[in-house]
Symmetry: C2
Subunit: 249 residues, 2 copies
């Protein structure tokens, strides 16, 4: 029998039922059991349950209704601030305000976030990761009052599911796994890896809806467009400097 | 009863017993079930089992014996290359060679990596994440022949454990969880959060070994020093440009 990991679906419709304190605490504790660089735990989990505040966060996530509807929105942040404060109070000279530690802290934070998601699902909760977090990270910093040394990476919406979506397809395992070294793809290989998805009913529907000749163009022309990608790259990088994660000299 | 997530320990001594194909495949498949941005699966898992190649990777991880000893070393990479190739073959105009997509791909990759770790543990395997990956990412790119659009983020060593370490302590949950908004720490709060760890037997031993007055200085003066942090920041950022993840204009 396959593990719980094989049952994951992103949930986008939630009941308003609150998460019992004890369950939420266990979910958050499970997050902290993930591997962490030097046991430094370079992340913060901002757990927003207050409805008014969730409504303020909602535009940061393009007003997807789940942000206001689900009982709990967890903004997952890289955090070198807490560790830096501790060092300063101990007459130690911390140098964690640079890109290496953005990477280390992000790794800590995202491993913890996935533990949080899995533990939530073990308790019958549903989750959805919100990639919109990096688009609007500056506004999220303001709403959640994140100090320097803290920056949002992703958001996990958590609550009891009000839908039962089917499992999403994935590319064949061979698409993402390389044995020994990286084996580059041939043109025929790429065609083969995407063949099933491109032939699917879902793809046919997407092409109809978008009026486009193929699935790749749905991504490049509608979903994740050049001008948006560049604007997000610049704004997040600027925020990275502003929040004190890029003092590399 | 608490979930498997509460039993995680990093394993650093492994038996040489190979991982059965079927188990390895299930572990890798579990990785692909993690949430992924737009179902794009922007990562590659480079699974190195060949001993000679593991020995070549070993210096990239400061010659920690587990890299040569464990049967399987998985280098977890952000990968926009595969998706870009597909777009190009479909007459779509991809723009994923920028910082926003380094962030999206890293998120995909690290959520998948944590799934991999958990599924491995469900099968009685042990794992260790290697933070050294970002220190020597350029050399890893060369050894594993990673093309532009691919960059290493972390490494997971996987195998059957040859040790049974105890659970590592964590800061109190209140250290990393903030309710509603971020609540900044008071000096007294910081003291309290670290009190138990600072009073521990492990800390006493570390201070003796390092000849230093407190635990914070073990980090800043010995483990993660300013000059190293800055050098890693610069070298990884340079690699990010070189691998084509920073064309933001």
């Amino acid at each position: 029998m396959k593990s719980i990991l094989f049952k994951h679906r992103s949930i986008r419709r939630f009941r308003s039922t609150p998460i019992p304190e004890k369950v939420l605490r266990e979910v958050l504790e499970a997050a902290t059991r993930a591997s962490t660089c030097g046991n430094m735990q370079l992340y913060s989990l901002v757990v927003t349950r207050d409805e008014a505040l969730r409504r303020r966060l909602s535009p940061c996530h393009f007003d997807q209704p789940m942000v206001a509807e689900a009982p709990c929105v967890v903004t997952v942040c890289a955090d070198v601030h807490r560790f830096t404060l501790w060092c300063e109070q101990r007459d130690a000279d911390p140098a964690y305000d640079n890109f290496a530690w953005f990477l280390n802290a992000s790794t800590d934070a995202l491993l913890a976030a996935q533990n949080l998601a899995i533990e939530a699902e073990l308790h019958g909760l549903g989750i959805c990761f919100l990639g919109t977090t990096i688009y609007t990270a500056r506004q999220i910093c303001e709403i959640l009052e994140l100090p320097a040394g803290v920056i949002p990476l992703t958001t996990v919406v958590v609550g009891y599911p009000d839908e039962e979506p089917g499992l999403t397809d994935r590319l064949p395992l061979e698409a993402v796994v390389h044995y020994e070294k990286y084996s580059d793809y041939t043109a025929a290989g790429i065609d083969e890896l995407w063949a099933e998805r491109e032939a699917s009913e879902l793809t046919r529907r997407l092409l109809d809806e978008n009026g486009l000749p193929n699935l790749a163009q749905v991504f490049t022309r509608n979903r994740y467009r050049r001008e948006d990608n560049l604007a997000i790259s610049r704004s997040y990088f600027e925020l990275l400097r502003r929040q004190g994660f890029f003092n590399n000299d």
